[in-house]
């Protein structure tokens, strides 16, 4: 294999081995945690798999895949989006809506196909 091609594949390029086409696809893990602390406990989660190997949907697991964002990072997931923090709008201090501490993580995985 020509040096550097594997690294190039991380930005979406295809590369060719002797007998198969290997491509890179993105998996997204969305973790919602207890507080802005990345060590805090995961309380909700979603998985979106661009490799086509997995089709997650609502209610398909009872426990989070990782205990925290940091635990997922230790397993190779890269944080690609950090939640911003905003002060409450006046008059809306006690309103609740979406989960605030949402971290989006990715893994790039090879898929094999012709």
């Amino acid at each position: 294999m020509i040096a550097g091609l594997r690294r190039l594949s991380y930005i979406g390029a295809n590369f060719f081995s002797e007998d198969a086409v290997t491509q890179i696809r993105q998996k997204l893990l969305v973790l919602y945690v207890h507080s802005p602390d990345l060590h805090s406990a995961a309380v909700a989660w979603s998985l979106y798999d661009g490799t086509g190997q997995d089709r997650s949907s609502s209610g398909d697991s009872e426990e989070p895949p990782y205990a925290s964002v940091v635990a997922a990072m230790q397993d190779g997931w890269r944080v690609v989006q950090f939640p911003q923090q905003y002060p409450a709008y006046p008059g809306m201090e006690y309103n609740t809506s979406y989960l605030k501490y949402e971290y989006i993580l990715e893994k790039m995985e090879e898929i094999h196909g012709g």
Binding site: S57, S58, S61, Y94
Partner: protein, 270 residues
């Protein structure tokens, strides 16, 4: 008016305020369940939104289910006598359907303290491999518009309705929920009915136990999935309990009392 023995009690109301739903297992007799299943297969005629609920389904098994004293007791306790029919739906999940529905709250953002109720009636056995409806206890005060929450897939504390025939859940209109996959060879049915109040929702239940020592603990339930926002959830429950009881001084853990303490008395000079 339904007999007092069929009304909810204060502890059940506190649980409803905290969780956003109550569940009653195997409430409906089997023969009614079988008749209701047959009606759902054939289709249940829709009423006009806003008509008195009492006028609907006089000759149907579904009507008999709604008129069961226990269900009338829930209605009277939560939305009061003489509620209006909003809409109903016979929800189905086809056999061997492998994907869960997206999480959603029904209708749109609703800023009222006044609330509608939705009945979820499971007329046949619903084991986990058949679904049923997944609820997220404690989600009812979150201001979201229908499928805005579809990105979420799983939460700590999510609760699938795995139940025997005749089980009924009654929920605040804002509760987050979704249908679950049906991996069996049989179609799944669930009957949902939404009702609107026509009277002020204040002490409509059996309040004999209004001072029960367990009520603060029930209202303080931590469902875990909202993490650090548990105290904001408590504030919303305090506000709802004040609305339902008319007691503007009610509090939990002093959360609102300290915020409402803004003295204006000026100290007199000696």
């Amino acid at each position: 008016m339904v007999d007092k023995q069929h009304l909810l009690n204060s502890k059940q109301m506190a649980q409803f305020v905290a969780d956003g739903l109550l569940r009653f297992d195997e409430l409906v007799p089997d023969e009614l369940n079988r008749a209701a299943c047959a009606e759902m297969e054939a289709g249940v005629l829709r009423g006009k939104a806003g008509v008195p609920m009492d006028e609907l389904w006089q000759d149907l098994a579904i009507g008999q289910v709604i008129r069961l004293p226990a269900i009338q007791g829930m209605i009277d306790s939560l939305v009061g006598p003489g509620p209006l029919y909003d809409h109903h739906a016979v929800h189905t999940v086809n056999a061997n359907h492998e994907h869960g529905q997206i999480w959603h709250a029904d209708a749109i953002i609703d800023t009222r303290m006044h609330f509608d109720v939705q009945f979820f009636y499971f007329a046949h056995d619903t084991p986990r491999e058949m679904g049923g409806t997944m609820f997220l206890p404690g989600s009812q005060y979150r201001r979201v518009s229908e499928s805005d929450i579809a990105r979420y897939q799983n939460f700590l504390g999510q609760m699938p309705m795995v139940c025997k025939a005749g089980t009924v859940a009654v929920a605040h209109h804002g509760i987050w929920h979704c249908a679950q996959p049906n991996l069996t060879d049989n179609k799944r049915y669930m009957f949902k009915l939404r009702l609107n109040p026509t009277v002020r929702q204040k002490k409509l239940w059996n309040t004999d136990d209004i001072d029960d020592a367990e009520i603060p603990g029930l209202l303080n339930a931590n469902h875990r999935w909202y993490g650090n926002e548990v105290r904001l959830e408590a504030v919303n429950r305090i506000k709802m309990w004040r609305f339902l009881t008319g007691d503007d001084n009610f509090d939990l853990s002093y959360w609102l009392s300290r915020l409402e303490n803004a003295p204006e008395n000026e100290l007199r000079a000696a």
